[in-house]
Amino acid sequence: MIHHLPAGRILGWGSLFFILVAADVEAAGKGGRGEPKPEAKPPESAAFTEWQVQDSSLRYKLHLIEKPTHPSAGYFVHLPDGGILPDTTVTTVVMTEDGKVIPSYLLWQNAENGFSMVFADPGSQERPVYVYVQSGRVTQLWNPESGITPSAILCTFPGRDSLNSALSLSKLGRVEPSVHLENHAGNKKAPFSIGGDMTGRPRPGSFYLLSYVEAAEAGSYWIAPHIIDGKCDVSIDGIKINPQERSKKWGGTGASVNLTKGLHRVEVLQAAGGTGPDSTNKYDGLMFLTWRPPSEKLKGGVEARIIKDWEIVRSGACKLVAVEAKNGGPVAAATANPGLCYWFGNEEPLILYDLSALTSGQPADATYTWTFPKEGETEGPDVQWICPAFREYKVRLTVKSGQDTSTCVVPFFSYSTKQTNLEKADQREAFRKALATMLKAFPRSPDPVADWSTAWWNNLMRTVEGKEEEQILTRLFTDHPDILRRKLTPGQLFTLQDLLLDLTQRQNPRETLQWIQKFLSDASTASRRSELKLREGEVQMYYLDDRRQAEKIFTEMSGLGDHAERAKIRLGDLAFLDGDLNKATAYYADVQRRARSRRNAAPLFSGDLVTNQLVQGGPPQTAQPNSPPAQGLPNIAAGAEQKRGALQEVSLSENVRSLTDDGFPLEARQTLLTWEIEFPLSKISGDYILRESAFHMKMGDWKRARPMLEAYCRQIDASSFLPGATAMLISCVQEAKETPSASLIETLEKVKDRLKYHPVAGDLDRFLSNAKNPSN
């Protein structure tokens, strides 16, 4: 049976109401030709072109970024409404900068996704074109007699799986809010095909593909659609074909159609039933089209071949660069582009979205406010937000200028195909940055953090590095402490607490003491309380220079308890800082003697990431006196204890070095703690001072590295590590922008005397010269 598709007509819309939107203005405008092409450089134009259509109050400015394959294919563009259109109907006038009117036609329009249109090729791509929106005019829908051949526009209706739904799309005009559009004919292997919903929305769905193909010669074409799934109708020039089996060969089911040389309209109606995403191995696309031109001989016993990419007509693509109001007021319009995807195992996928307001053409004093339903508000023209995947979102953008306000809603379905790799520091940082923005924007009640799935917490654990998370952690521990206690394992909670203490003590050690008191009141185990007390003493010693208070804390702790050995090492550190090398050595030797008796009892860095241990719910393994035997050390024969210890020390040193250099701060910190408890004498006789200082300097913690380096340079007369320690000390003072004290200068003068033939003497000379004569 053959029926005619109602493809052409001109309708007047008297009472259409549409609100707005455009989730992906740019994406909709791009030609779907397999791999995305690099965007052409947008043409430069005058900052403001005279308003050309006086009865229009709004215009869109477009850059033509990709030419149509055929002049008749024109340009396809999908434009947001933004709640700014003055009327309930969409009537447009397209003009070039020099005032030439370009024929244009509306394709589809809906209350959510804005409107799509096609306009004739204005010729030059160099200058922008303007789409003026008029009021009270008759809307002109595209029709085949218009002379424009838009192709290949895939119109998708999610949630419906009938050919009737697809047929309703072919009538153009107003469509349901969920309908969306892409300029997409197929992919590389099947240039003319429908694979599914390009936005990732799940089945069911209905599709209408409006396209043109080029017949290179006149004659009888064998048209053979391959329907992989669902129902499909194909029409050529408005006439539905009725495929019949002519042979059992591949492509043997089809219909012969007489075509003249030139362009012919091919429309596909497709319905896809079932549930779940199209983007799985379960489904292999929906349909693809093959044909056999009249004089083409095909090898391999087939009846048809795929339609080649160059045989499919493509409309040109535009980029929306500005939306402007005639009165100069604000206009809200935005794009939502999916970015990185954080998805591990069976966790909920989280997608990082880039939301960008169109700022070009807006008043200079315009402010931009994004409202996320139930998740608060944030300011700025560009914002990054993390959205769980496979959900519908509606974000509101409000642009204000003076007393004028414009609002639009940006709907999108969260889905991303971007490859993400946490090996890349910038991709870890992106998650942290977006999370910080969100936590700042979140309302206190109802608290969105309470609804975070495991994926949120685990990705936080995977991306924290102890450098830039202060904002995130401060928010979490200030605004959501109960949720943290409820959702995290003790190991995860303690790690985040320690990271916050690390971060705050560099800038504001007094605040760190307050945090310690807060965490102490929440600590449920004696071990954790000891850790926090130890930390309190360290803050007093290294950052506040209150050594008496620190000594008091460490002395109390050194008697008994989980961290007594560590407290004794700190007492040794205090003695070292105070210039009493003998006392320091006595403390270190005492701890090391006991450590030797349980040599290899402490676990070393096992090779697995601390973050992996945290995600699995376990605490990070740090060295404790009664820990199980270590793994991964060379198996040295019994009786060679001394050599075994030396090897272990070298191993620890190399581990800390490589972990610090390679960007594994949590693991490096853990290994440093193990090293310190096993070989505290390394602080004087080994390279512990270099590795520890390098770690703190890498974290930007100059304050923490400096005191021990200065003490080392002052008290160690000669060692292989003295030049390195001296160079680091100079770096610390310079990086902290600290004015060198008299005692520091005196210490370095003495070091210079000892190292006068070493290359570091040159650095010392320069530093000391500058310190003595700052004006130089």
Binding site: G195, L609, L659
Partner: protein, 96 residues
């Protein structure tokens, strides 16, 4: 005597070649001699497997295009442990 006919030249050459070869063969090719090892015969090749797809089908094996799937994130890899090479020299009797 000079033979002018080129066909006659070819015939005479062929006849001479045949005579020499026949002589060689009659004289024996050495295959019967002691220690002769015959060269390996070329084994008969197995028949080609039946074709399961036409060339056109193989070209279109995937055919269509499900929507690009979302893929899992690649995790941060654990660090590679530093390689330590050391030589332990024992002093004393056991090392000698």
């Amino acid at each position: 005597m000079k033979i002018k006919n080129p066909t006659a030249n070819k015939v005479i050459c062929s006849a001479l070649a045949a005579t020499f070869c026949t002589g060689t063969l009659l004289a024996g090719d050495g295959t019967g001699e002691a220690g002769f090892v015959p060269p390996p015969r070329e084994l008969k090749k197995p028949p080609a497997p039946p074709r399961t797809a036409s060339s056109a089908e193989s070209m279109l094996a995937c055919c269509c295009c499900p929507v690009t799937p979302m893929s899992r994130t690649e995790a941060k890899k654990p660090p590679q442990p530093p390689v330590l090479v050391t030589k332990i020299k024992e002093e004393g009797a056991s090392a000698k």
